[in-house]
């Protein structure tokens, strides 16, 4: 604090000599300072006046909350405490000037829409007869629980919520009752007219219209900010057909779950994505965890034999094997404690096409062995099998992949036929679509794409893709995929049956049975994946629950239903000629004049070992993947 000392002597001296003069001088000083103080206050109050003019007239602040509140006839203030009433008086969210945007499918069909509704609340203190009010309300809203309403209206509070989502008709009817103390709060309700059909993709919103899953969550901000409808890549007709066929197959084979995907092989657009069991998107809150689980992107399954297409492609593309190469499928492979064997094998030497058509584990294992660990890993990495699939859905999961250090020869061989790695069905679909589309990498998307992806890049030779297309067609014409054929659509595909893991081993008779198909094979347009989780064989399949028996027929039915919807007409007149271009002998001979390549793979393939860095994504060690492969069966 300031001290008087420096000033005091001076004052005292002056006082002693000429008290009056000194005092007058001091008063003059004081007057000057008073003027300064007045100026200071003028400044402060002037600032207030300026700010006031700014806040009221010149730059008035946009008011959302207060305007919204002005619609309410009475102050909301719930119970006593000030913070609580403040919180209640605040609207539940900053909804902005418009309601949440619609979500539509690629044809403009509405998948999600926000409808204006009203919340019903009351101030019991303003009511004359709460019992009568409760009875009257019940007459308009039969779903009200009279006891609960009575109890709430009897409380001392001044704000009690009675019902959400009142329709305009009910709103009018309640107003006509003329009950004092009853009020409405403007709200909106998210409706999904398609109900269960695309529930996993849509996800859902909570009571405050915030996206909690799926597209609603992924595009939450977009849907709030931009009122124009969000257009998805889905075709709801295809989606419904897929769901229908999956449900029927699931019921027929008593499966515990099912999954289906349709993807455009040139754009990566997901046309349909179904996971069963599903839920009604309008009642997402009541769904169980099992129902909410999206098998298509969250479920990580061993792909099984569908992966043999990848092995075949990498062998061909790298030159590690040729179509006329042959592989020993006569002898089981024993490495340490593990035995690899074929399911209903031919027990002889198989040609390259036979390995695929008959789905030989032994053949695929040898094929993968010839490709080698390093090239296999960089191929799978380029195919995106080691990282999240990259679709816009927040539920997408991380593949389960062994780290490079554990990726020994046994792993190379088992991954060759789709075991010892777990990826989502969408990974398998994307990988197969790339094999079929000529070798251009795809980024799966749930949004409608205007044009083929611009940043696409080639990860394999066109000629490899052409050969793989013929191999896929061969599986359907001569192999286990026969039930999937649809005349005129040249379906190609690959079965995949994998025993589900349980702890450290595989479960007998608990299969993931999938059929991975593409059509039409002469000019591929769509990839169709059809999977049943733990199907049980029945009389019609002679007890088999393998993919060829339970999933291939379903895939065929789906293709037959959706192809016309997608604008593809069956090609019947020129079928024979087209088939001729696709056919391939099961036992091709070596063409005359062919010489083994001097490891040309490095020269022509951009995505091959040297260029491709090791996977950057940390790979999750799959626990005990190796030891469990004692009796892997692929069919």
């Amino acid at each position: 604090m300031t001290d008087a000392q420096p000033q005091a002597p001076c004052t005292r001296t002056a006082h002693a000599i000429a008290p009056d003069v000194a005092r007058r001088a001091a008063m003059e000083k004081t007057r000057g300072r008073l003027v300064i103080a007045s100026l200071g206050f003028s400044l402060l109050f002037g600032a207030v006046a300026l700010k006031l003019a700014g806040a009221t007239v010149m730059f008035p602040m946009q008011s959302k909350r207060l305007d919204r509140l002005a619609q309410l006839p009475n102050p909301i203030s719930a119970d006593a405490s000030a913070p609580a009433s403040g919180a209640l008086a605040m609207p539940p969210r900053d909804a902005g000037p418009h309601t949440r945007a619609m979500v539509v499918d690629r044809n403009g069909e509405i998948l999600a829409i926000s409808l204006p509704t009203a919340g019903l609340y009351a101030n019991p203190r303003e009511m004359m007869d709460t019992d009568e009010a409760a009875r009257k309300l019940k007459s308009v809203l039969p779903s009200l629980d009279l006891q609960v309403v009575r109890a709430r209206l009897a409380s001392e509070k001044q704000f009690v919520y009675l019902a959400r989502n009142i329709t305009p008709n009910e709103h009018l009817a309640i107003n006509n009752l003329g009950i004092p103390g009853v009020y409405f709060q403007a709200t909106e309700r998210r409706r999904y007219p398609q109900g269960r059909v695309a529930a996993h993709v849509m996800g859902g919103v909570d009571v405050d219209a915030r996206g909690v899953a799926g597209v609603e969550r992924a595009f939450d901000q977009r849907l709030r900010d931009d009122p124009t409808p969000l257009k998805l890549s889905l075709d709801v007709r295809v989606q419904a057909a897929m769901r229908d066929e999956l449900s029927q197959s699931m019921a027929e084979f008593h499966a515990i779950g099912a999954c289906g995907i349709v993807m455009d092989v040139h754009t990566g657009e997901v046309i349909a994505m179904v996971s069963l069991p599903d839920f009604d998107a309008n009642k997402a809150g009541e769904a169980t965890n099992e129902q909410r689980f999206n098998r298509a992107v969250t479920g990580m399954y061993e792909p099984g034999s569908t992966f043999k297409l990848q092995t075949a492609a990498m062998a061909l593309d790298s030159g590690a094997a040729q179509l006329w190469s042959s592989f020993d499928a006569a002898h089981n492979i024993r490495i340490g404690r593990f035995t690899i064997q074929d399911f209903e094998g031919k027990h002889r030497v198989l040609t390259f096409p036979e390995v695929i058509a008959y789905s030989s584990n032994l053949g695929a294992a040898h094929m993968a062995q010839q490709v080698g660990t390093e090239r296999q890993r960089s191929w799978l990495h380029a195919m995106g099998m080691f990282t999240r699939v990259g679709i816009e859905l927040p539920e997408q999961g991380q593949p389960i992949v062994q780290p490079a250090a554990n990726w020994k020869e046994i792993a190379t061989m088992t991954v060759g036929f789709g075991h010892g790695i777990a990826v989502s069905p969408l990974h398998v679909v994307r990988g197969t679509a790339v094999l079929a589309n000529g070798g251009m990498m795809l980024h799966p998307t749930i949004l409608e794409a205007e044009a083929p992806q611009s940043d696409e890049h080639r990860i394999m030779r066109q000629s490899t893709s052409d050969t793989v297309r013929k191999l896929m067609r061969l599986v359907v014409t001569d192999g286990y995929g026969k039930p999937a054929d649809v005349p005129g659509y040249f379906v190609g595909g690959k079965t995949g049956t994998a025993e589900k893991t349980l702890g450290h081993g595989y479960r007998k008779h608990a299969n993931i049975s999938a059929f991975m198909s593409v059509f039409p094979m002469n000019a591929p347009r769509y990839a169709v994946y059809f999977m049943l989780d733990e199907p049980k064989g029945n009389a019609s399949t002679a007890g088999y629950s393998t993919a060829g028996a339970v999933s291939a027929p379903g895939a065929g039915r789906v293709i037959a239903r959706i192809a016309p919807m997608l604008g593809l007409m069956p090609e019947t007149v020129t079928a024979a000629a087209t088939q001729a271009t696709l056919s391939m002998p099961l036992r091709p001979g070596r063409p005359a004049g062919w010489r083994p390549p001097v490891d040309t793979s490095l020269a022509h393939a951009p995505a091959h070992p040297q260029e491709v860095p090791a996977p950057q994504q940390p790979v999750i060690p799959r626990q005990e993947a190796g030891p469990s492969i004692t009796s892997v069966a692929a069919r």
């Binding site: 300031t2 001290d3 004081t30 300072r33 109050f45 006031l52 602040m61 008011s63 913070p83």
Partner: protein, 377 residues
């Protein structure tokens, strides 16, 4: 009031000597406070759990008491004012100290003492009383040899500062410090020391920012509204925006339903929403009129005690109004302080009335030969 100039009664002399313009301005403010109370009553009555009638009655009583206090205190002679201030200062100091022991804790601070019917914030009364006492000590220090007036005043200030820091009530402390500083400044403190004092205030503000988390959070939110919850101030600004030039009309405002402190700390926003910029400017003008008239009239005053005391009272009144209006306009960080006479609140309106009453008493016209200082005992 038909009082003849020759009326020699106490009231008669008062009427002809008191500053009637200031009195009129104060009366207008009280009337305006009454209107705002009626407008805000439904929302506030709910908030304080009372029926609207009880609330209105209570506030009518408070405003009437405030009016009576203004008139009653202004009847006093300067000497009476000084005695009242001295007693009040001692009592308020004691009670402020008592808040630390037996105070009611509201929102994390112990500033209030519960008496039947209301809670009293003793530091509110400390503000005008200390201004008068400090003025007396300072003027005596200049008048008399060997009287360490500035030292004594400084000592009392330090005691007050310690008490308020413990409550904590940094806003009140800031106002009292600023008032004391203005008194020292007007009292003729030489400029280097003025610089030291101003530096001290800045340093103290910096220290408060550094050591009191709630101070820091408010300042941070003021400087960068995105950094935290600026709900109150945004809502207040929206209210002003809604009001525009002429307002939405009496009782049509919504901010009073939304902001818990609308009837006290954000009453200016309620005025802005319901009555618009023009009436807000009138209110601001009334405060400015009282403050500037109070200060400028002192130019003609000969007595240092009167000058310092009045200037302190006016400064305290003006600063309180400025802080209230400034915070609701987001001109300064939010600081809960009532708008004199307009805000709802019992003890604060009485304290303000006490200060204004003292001001009116000190600035009553006296004969030149009536030296107030010589009567100091």
């Amino acid at each position: 009031m038909a009082l003849s100039r020759s009326d020699n009664s106490v009231l008669g002399r008062w009427w002809w000597t008191v500053d009637r313009w200031t009195l009129l301005a104060v009366g207008t403010l009280i009337g305006f406070g009454y209107v705002m109370m009626l407008a805000a009553s439904p929302a506030v009555a709910e908030r304080i759990h009372q029926s609207r009638d009880v609330f209105i009655l209570k506030q009518v009583v408070f405003l009437a008491l405030a009016g009576l206090t203004v008139v009653g205190v202004s009847l006093l002679s300067p000497r009476g004012v000084r005695r009242l201030a001295l007693l009040g200062c001692l009592a308020a100091l004691a009670l402020t100290a008592a808040t630390l022991v037996m105070g009611v804790e509201i929102k994390g601070a112990r500033r209030w003492i519960s008496v039947p019917g209301m809670t009293v914030q003793p530091s509110e009364f400390l503000k005008p009383c200390f201004a008068v006492v400090a003025a007396w000590l300072l003027s005596q220090g200049q008048r008399r040899r060997h009287f360490p007036g500035m030292l004594l005043a400084g000592a009392i200030f330090i005691v007050i500062a310690m008490l308020l820091k413990s409550q904590p009530d940094m806003g009140m402390l800031a106002v009292i410090a600023a008032v004391f500083f203005v008194q020292l400044f007007v009292g003729g403190l030489n400029l280097p020391l003025v610089g030291v004092g101003a530096g001290g205030l800045v340093a103290a503000a910096g220290a408060a920012y550094a050591f009191f988390p709630h101070v820091r959070s408010r300042v941070t939110r003021f400087l960068d509204p995105a950094s935290g919850d600026s709900y109150q101030v945004n809502t207040a600004l929206e209210a002003f925006g809604n009001g525009g030039l002429l307002g939405r009309g009496p009782g049509e405002g919504r901010v009073k339903d939304v902001l818990p402190d609308a009837h006290a700390d954000f009453v200016f926003a309620v005025v802005g929403e319901e009555f618009g910029m023009v009436v807000c400017l009138v209110v601001l003008g009334l405060f400015g009129f009282i403050v500037l008239r109070g200060l400028l009239r002192l130019l003609a005053e000969q007595d240092l005690f009167i000058v310092l005391a009045s200037c302190g009272l006016v400064t305290s009144f003006g600063l309180q109004a400025f802080v209230n209006m400034g915070s609701s306009l987001h001109l300064i960080p939010t600081k809960g302080m009532t708008l004199p006479f307009v805000s709802y609140g019992g003890s604060s309106v009485l304290a303000v009335a006490l200060g204004i009453g003292m001001l009116l008493a000190l600035t009553r016209r006296r004969a030149r030969s009536e030296p107030v200082w010589s009567t100091a005992s």
